[in-house]
């Protein structure tokens, strides 16, 4: 091992996951490797069936890889977690924000109480210190006391997603995984959350893994991107290079698919047909 001035936050090597559906084996993720340094943001770009969500789930331990390793700050992410200490350690390693914040917020608790619970679980005993930290976390995502008292269903979609981000940040994770976390938001509200993510990058050393199908949004949040297609990594490069000179035909297709004035969807159809080995329209 060579000495490295900035040790990797997250090191993924040779990750593989297969599923069995009715006798046939489907490779969801095949030989995925990447390294994330402190404060870096990696975009994982792909369409349905690319393996991007399976990757996100493996990173937080919801799925067990068939092969490969996930190291968080040099420590392997445990395959099995037994006991409170190990569970808390894994939660501190990686947190996730899903597309639908209802999945990570308790519907019957005010969001302030949800964040308070996360802090208590992770050992912040003093109630006054917790209350101050809850306020600080909510302020960081642009929410105030009124929202702290509100149940998730009484918040707007954007407020809910910001609350889910605040809950994830409460744990002070090394890595934050965002799985299509801005896809369901209205554009005006999406911009608020995107700015919040770039502030988090600037103000903390948290590494972001940003899973998305939207190249423009990936460009805004990330410095590197990895393009997945049917589980395989097609390209992994700095975002600016990837967008300026995409190497793989599939990356070029994805770029051409972004609607804009003067857009020609017909040419995209024929290019897509020529890429697909089975020649089937999706």
């Amino acid at each position: 091992m060579t000495t490295d001035p900035t040790p990797a936050l997250l090191q993924v090597s040779g990750l593989r996951k297969t599923y069995r559906t009715g006798g046939a084996e489907v490779v969801a993720v095949d030989d995925l490797s990447f390294t994330l340094r402190p404060g870096a943001a990696l975009g994982i770009v792909g369409e349905s069936g690319s393996g991007k969500t399976t990757t996100a789930r493996m990173l937080i331990g919801l799925e067990r890889p068939d092969a490969g390793r996930i190291l968080v700050q040099g420590e392997p992410l445990a395959d099995f977690v037994r006991g409170r200490a190990a569970r808390l350690a894994r939660a501190k390693a990686v947190q996730i924000v899903f597309q639908d914040p209802y999945l990570s917020l308790d519907a019957r608790m005010g969001i302030g109480a949800t964040i308070d619970g996360a802090l208590r679980l992770h050992g912040l005993r003093d109630p006054a210190a917790r209350a101050a930290r809850v306020r600080e976390l909510l302020a960081q995502v642009g929410l105030g006391d009124r929202e702290a008292a509100a149940l998730p269903r009484h918040l707007s979609g954007g407020q809910r997603q910001r609350a889910a981000i605040a809950r994830a940040l409460a744990v002070e994770p090394a890595v934050l995984v965002l799985d299509e976390a801005v896809s369901a938001l209205d554009v005006s509200v999406q911009a608020q959350v995107l700015n919040l993510l770039s502030d988090i990058r600037r103000d903390t050393g948290i590494g972001l893994v940003f899973v998305s199908h939207d190249l423009a949004v990936v460009r805004y949040v990330c410095d590197e991107a990895l393009v997945l297609y049917r589980g395989r990594t097609l390209e992994h490069r700095p975002v600016a290079e990837l967008l300026a000179a995409p190497r793989d035909p599939y990356t070029r297709l994805l770029l051409a698919s972004v609607p804009r004035p003067g857009w020609d969807p017909d040419s995209i159809s024929s290019r897509r047909r020529s890429l697909d080995p089975k020649g089937l329209p999706a």
């Binding site: 554009v187 005006s188 700015n195 770039s198 423009a216 698919s257 972004v258 004035p261 003067g262």
Partner: protein, 339 residues
């Protein structure tokens, strides 16, 4: 006579603070693609459904919406059925919700022809196969015998488009037709819709939250906010010089794919719910340019400004050529940050 015409359509539900729709004026002619862009709760889907005579239960309706001259507000069952089976067809966001999961694709496609038009099974099946080929499905004969779960989302949306065309309506209503699909599939579906629209001279109303998508495929864009149309303009004009602060805000909210990357200027706050109302312009509480005592007093009526129709008290001053900067720059130059 336009294929579709909204004439000051208003829809109000009891127990809400503001109308769902307020003074909607819009028309779609043959061979025209018109987009209606808005965020959630803006009323764009309610507007689209009104074109089939579908209104929220218990709603109070004012104004009129006409399809090929037939008024749908207060229409009798026979004229509603005629519009829904022969004149207009709707394509929804989620094709899986549009098809019965335990019936074959062929049943879904042939039912309107057999029940509403009395066609024989064989004649209807032949027509269905023809339509599946027209929407670019590779093996129509086989697909007719398949169940929805055997097809991908993009293939199913093609089936839904084929079904919409069975009775050869002149008007297609598309409510977020590609939102549930992958980006490259989206392009394919829009290519199919565009080709059919051109070949058959259809009028198409596209409902979408994606202003870039609207710009890519339509002739005119109407931007909705809190139940009102705040700006309507030809696509090129709307993009080059948005005249309503909300339109400018929407354009400034999406990060660009190419070119310089500046910090986004989001519209602060959130869209107005049905239980909130504002005495003046509905956008005023979120608007960087709102002028107290004016914008919060009375709702701005739509007015013509060049090629566009805009409902904003301050459009004339904000877009005046005498201003130091062109309109979009002025809109984005505000020092305020997102809340």
């Amino acid at each position: 006579m336009p294929l579709l015409e909204y004439d000051a359509l208003g829809v109000t539900l009891p127990g809400t603070a503001r109308p769902i729709l307020d003074g909607i004026d819009l028309h779609v002619g043959a061979g025209e693609v018109v987009a209606l862009v808005g965020e959630s709760g803006s009323g764009k889907s309610v507007t689209a459904r009104a074109a089939l005579g579908l209104f929220p239960a218990g709603a109070d309706i004012t104004g009129q919406v006409r399809v090929a001259g037939t008024g749908l507000v207060g229409a009798d069952a026979a004229s509603l059925r005629d519009v829904r089976t022969n004149r207009a067809a709707m394509i929804y966001q989620d094709p899986r919700a549009a098809l019965n999961p335990v019936r074959r694709v062929g049943d879904f496609l042939t039912e309107p022809l057999r029940l509403a038009h009395g066609w024989s099974r064989n004649r209807a099946a032949a027509r269905a196969a023809e339509l599946l080929a027209a929407v670019g499905l590779p093996d129509p004969g086989r697909h007719l015998n398949q169940y929805p779960h055997e097809l991908s989302g993009g293939m199913l949306q093609r089936v839904v488009i084929a079904a919409a065309l069975t009775t050869e309506p002149r008007l297609l209503l598309c409510d977020e037709p590609t939102t549930a699909l992958d980006v490259s599939t989206q392009a394919e579906i829009l290519a199919v819709l565009g080709r059919l629209q051109r070949e058959r001279g259809l009028g198409l109303l596209l409902i979408t939250h994606d202003i870039e998508l609207a710009a890519a495929v339509s002739d005119r864009i109407h931007v909705m906010y809190a139940g009102r149309i705040v700006e309507a303009a030809p696509v090129a004009d709307l993009f080059a010089a948005p005249r309503h602060p909300y339109t400018a805000g929407l354009l400034g909210s999406s990060p660009p794919l190419h070119g310089p990357l500046a910090r986004l200027t989001p519209i602060p706050g959130a869209p107005m719910g049905l239980l909130e109302s504002a005495p003046g312009c509905a956008f005023a509480p979120r608007c960087h340019f709102a002028e107290p005592g004016r914008c919060d007093q009375s709702p701005p009526p739509p007015e013509r400004h060049g090629p566009a129709e805009v409902a904003c008290h301050r459009t004339a001053e904000l877009t005046a050529p005498a201003a130091n900067a062109p309109a979009p720059a002025a809109f984005h130059a505000s020092g305020k940050e997102d809340s």
